[in-house]
Symmetry: C2
Subunit: 412 residues, 2 copies
């Protein structure tokens, strides 16, 4: 190992983001490298959730729809998520799940490109994105279809007059590869198609510039880098220029122009509100509200700088593990790397289990990827050093061969 633990301690001492660590609950004895799956609990969140449960619900009851701003939450929270996406106000709402939001956005995008019927996506995308694309394609009038690419590099060959929409993940959930959002968006739009970005593995990990790059649509979740808890509500972004014409089929009353006129016919409200469907999940929103208070104090450029430093450090420290069959899958070029490092190992599953037994939490993705997520707000350089050291010990000792770690199974 090149960088020493002492050097890591020095980096921690100089880290401008170090004070944020105190904002989070970090279980004793754990090095948590899975914040790319489920972010840790902010220390302030239990109190905010308690307040919504006991005060807003328990005491104020239905008055809270107006007095506690419940009706407006999808918008007010959307406006607070928007800066993390490089989005001006009025283009983001917080609601439903990423999959449900993707359904709305894809249906809307297909509707904006009549006469075109192909959705292009990467075969290695997070599968639910592909399943939803399949679902919306099958249902959309005119027989849309989803076509899978081996990689975004094939866009140049496959984009054509039939391409309605391109759906890509900004950061790959397995390899951690970061795509070139500005260039791909331009390329897709030059072919007359619309660009939908899934930013689940990017939001809160790096600055995203949707407006500046003229992105059409985006969706993402809040329970990874944004620390809003399991199943917290997702968000969607629609560029302002599409809002007048965009229509989505999950046309519930929250998207109606006059929801309290109780008209029998649907009339979408002007603006981003037409992408809402129904009652928001107030408890999940409370957790998001609370974690956004932290995010509003954060400089995303500092997050990105530390993220790159942490992943670079980890790669440097695990590179020598090639002798145990470990291969770094994540791109080494900074511009192509998100905030996680994926390592390939034929026995990745038991290796991850053995690491977890030592208190270092990463996860495994079939068939052979070990994923390690790096969350700059609550992870130290020293922890990264310790995690790499533990991984080296697991491999040196071959303790992963013990029967308790040996089953290949389903893991998150």
């Amino acid at each position: 190992m090149t960088t020493t633990r002492e050097e890591c301690a020095a980096l921690d001492a100089a880290d401008p983001l170090a004070p944020f660590r105190a904002e989070f609950v970090l279980p004793e004895g754990l090095i948590y490298l899975d914040g790319n799956s489920l972010g840790v609990l902010p220390a302030r969140t239990p109190e905010r959730v308690r307040q919504v449960v006991e005060q807003e619900w328990g005491q104020q009851l239905i008055r809270s729809w107006n007095e506690a701003g419940w009706f407006a939450k999808p918008h007010t929270l959307g406006a607070r998520v928007a800066p993390l996406l490089g989005a001006a106000a009025g283009q983001v709402v917080v609601c439903d799940t990423t999959s449900v939001n993707l359904f709305k956005v894809l249906a809307a995008a297909l509707g904006l490109r009549p006469g075109r019927s192909t959705v292009l996506a990467e075969r290695a995308a997070f599968p639910t994105d592909l399943y939803i694309a399949e679902g919306v394609s099958a249902l959309a009038g005119g027989g849309a279809r989803t076509e899978l690419l081996d990689s975004a590099d094939q866009l140049a060959d496959r984009l054509g007059p039939d391409t309605a929409v391109v759906l890509l993940s900004l950061v790959d959930y397995r390899t951690g590869e970061l795509l070139d959002l500005p260039a791909i968006t331009r390329q897709v739009q030059a072919a007359g198609a619309l660009m939908v970005w899934d930013v689940c593995h990017a939001v809160g990990a790096l600055p995203i510039e949707l407006d500046a790059n003229g992105v059409d649509f985006a969706v993402g979740c809040t329970y990874k880098y944004l620390n809003s808890g399991p199943g917290s509500p997702a968000f969607l972004y629609v560029a302002e220029r599409h809002l007048a014409a965009a229509e989505q089929p999950l046309s519930g009353w929250f998207g109606h122009a006059k929801p309290f006129d109780f008209e029998p016919g649907y009339r979408p409200v002007d603006g981003i509100g037409r992408f809402l469907t129904s009652s928001p999940s107030l408890l999940g929103q409370a957790a998001l509200e609370s974690s956004l208070e932290i995010w509003e104090q954060v400089d995303l450029a500092e997050v990105r700088a530390k993220s790159l430093a942490l992943t670079e450090l980890f790669i440097e420290l695990v590179d020598p593990l090639a002798k145990y069959g470990v291969e770094v899958v994540t791109p080494r070029e900074r511009a192509r790397r998100g905030s996680q490092v994926a390592l390939r190992h034929p026995d990745g599953y038991p290796v991850v289990q053995a690491l977890i037994a030592r208190g270092v939490v990463g996860d495994f993705r079939a068939p052979d990827l070990m994923r390690f997520g790096f969350t700059p707000l609550y992870l130290s350089y020293t922890e990264v050093w310790d995690a790499a050291r533990q991984l080296a010990e697991v491999l040196e000792s071959e303790e992963w061969r013990e029967e308790q770690f040996g089953r290949r199974g389903e893991v998150t």
Copy 2:
């Protein structure tokens, strides 16, 4: 007034459901007749939510997906809601919102009736149901359409070889009218169509017998009579006989046969799981979990008996208010009444506001309906008497004419 307050006190003393009142947080000085909109907080819920936030999320983190049963929750909670619907296991899941679930169910139903393209619904249905029916109809291949009936009585005339689906609310959200589920279901199915019931205003208010009556599909929410909090997850029911062939377009990875094989193509899992889409809202589910602990101790026949007694008492007590222009809209026949009473008054809005100022919470639905919900688990006969008395005083005194109550506005 015929029944005296003393007689109400005697009814309370003999009420077998009276002990349940202690299970709920009832704000001081409030008579809450809006449990049909948002049920009150169960006393045990804050602790359960705290546990999920601080322990399952905060300490166990991603391990909770397996160890705390997070993955299985849509099913385990569905199995616990099922008895409230008269449904055997394996036909109910808890997920998403009522609107989103209705979209899935309507799309599935249309898919099961190829060659038929009409969805029949009541013009006075809760509008979001109609909007969603519109949305799914517009998107469904083959050009389905939604046709609105003035009332379910028109079914006899309108059911025909083109009717694919009939969508009705078991209890009307405004009038509180209870439809004849067994007869209508038979009538619809005799015409070769499928029956979808929205049971939002019925579940937890009266026994529902979906299996016994061969209902095809149902959807409903958990934040009204089931006391699971604002925006708590909804549920859907699909009769077992449809599960093999039913397909729904919100085909996310939670509905996949092998979600952790990360296949690029969608293959729905066998059974009700195919109606799931994506990550459940764990905080909302925690609240449902907690309130179901109460519901599992409840005899729905006792709930129904008390519900009818409470609504009957209220109707008896407000009948003399006809002299102030109050008209009882809710059916007086027991078999046609849910658990709320709607009163028509040309100045319903300020009257409701004046009542709220006196601590009696009902709500208003345009243009002229005052709604009062009766929740047998936490409402006493004496409270109903007091509420009727307060309403009489508001009308006698004409205090609702005061400027502070006078604006017609948007209310929940």
